[in-house]
């Protein structure tokens, strides 16, 4: 059954999620608590409705589920369908898939809407930002797919040609970012600290994707069923 793929995807997502939850517990929670000290009045009005411990605990749990979600969706379902199309073998395939996943879920949208520390006021309405974010996710997926296709088409050519063709779709992102509407943000956090926070978020997500790719590689190749075997399995 295809469950062999799903199990491996879920397991790598769980391990990645546990690692990311640990990152959230040790770095994320305290970093955000520190950044909140810059806020004079909490922007949500009347302060948070849950206590700090709940927020910390649920956020760690959210991190674990975050990994599990990507593990099932990308390394379970995604790897099952895309395995024949991914270039290279073993770890290369997983790292390509992880890079494509990161670009789609976080990388491309962040170019337009970078991660913000708490207390930031954004000029654009929430709905507009959600639409922009979703749009950039589609762009990220298209760019990642184009990179892989360009690599496959030029793999037999000179290395420089392959590298140029594979990297070229990424330049498309820069054009789109320049075309995106003005996104003014005002916040109490100093610019250098905001930059440090953003890079912490970036490395956190990159770490999550890398962990999932490594664990998935380590689990080995799932067994692929044949069409006939699937009919047998469901006939019983």
């Amino acid at each position: 059954m295809t469950t062999d793929y799903l199990e491996r995807g879920a397991l790598s997502g769980l391990v990645g999620g546990l690692g990311y939850g640990l990152f959230q517990a040790t770095v994320g929670n305290s970093f955000i608590a520190g950044l909140e000290r810059f806020e004079s009045g909490h922007s949500h009005g009347g302060g948070p409705v849950v206590d700090g411990f709940t927020t910390a605990a649920v956020s760690v749990g959210g991190g674990v589920l975050w990994g599990l979600l990507f593990g099932i969706a990308i390394f379970g379902v995604g790897y099952y369908f895309l395995e024949p199309a991914l270039p290279g073998r073993d770890a290369t395939r997983r790292l390509v898939l992880a890079a494509a996943g990161f670009l789609t879920v976080s990388g491309a949208p962040w170019l337009v809407l970078p991660p913000q520390p708490p207390g930031v006021e954004q000029a654009l309405a929430t709905e507009t930002r959600l639409a922009l974010y979703a749009g950039m996710m589609v762009v990220g997926a298209v760019v990642a797919a184009t990179c892989v296709l360009a690599y496959r088409r030029t793999a037999t050519r000179h290395t420089a040609v392959t590298a140029l063709a594979t990297g070229l779709p990424l330049a498309m992102l820069a054009v789109l970012v320049a075309l995106a509407p003005e996104r003014t943000v005002t916040g109490p956090v100093p610019a250098t600290l905001t930059a440090a926070f953003r890079w912490t978020v970036v490395f956190g997500q990159v770490g999550l994707w890398a962990t999932m790719a490594v664990v998935h590689t380590w689990l080995g190749e799932p067994e692929l069923p044949t069409v006939e075997a699937e009919f047998q399995a469901t006939a019983d």
Binding site: M1, T2, Q24, G28, N29, F31, I32, A33, S43, H44, P48, V49, V50, T54, T55, A56, V58, S59, V60, G62, G63, L65, W66, L68, L69, I72, A73, V77, Y80, F81, L82, E83, P84, A85, S106, P109, W110, L113, P114, P115, Q116, P117, P118, T126, R129, L130, Y133, R198, V201, V202, G204, Q205, E221, L224, P225, T226, V227, E230, F231, T234
Partner: protein
């Protein structure tokens, strides 16, 4: 693995022959529900509980 026949199209054939429509819809619904809860639910209690996670993961929440 059958190298010459293994394409994305082939994978889709295996999946559609082995899984019923209900199974597929159930899978998609579960993943969608989890994603929606983590990213978009703005209910004050959920929002504030998830606050650190959403900022930490760079989710555009509020």
């Amino acid at each position: 693995m059958q190298a010459e026949k293994d394409t994305v199209r082939h994978r889709v054939d295996i999946a559609t022959s082995g899984l019923s429509g209900t199974q597929m819809m159930l899978g998609v619904a579960l993943v969608a529900a989890l994603g929606f809860t983590l990213l978009f639910v703005q209910d004050p209690m959920v929002h504030d509980s998830m606050h650190n996670f959403r900022h930490g993961a760079g989710v555009t929440c509020h």
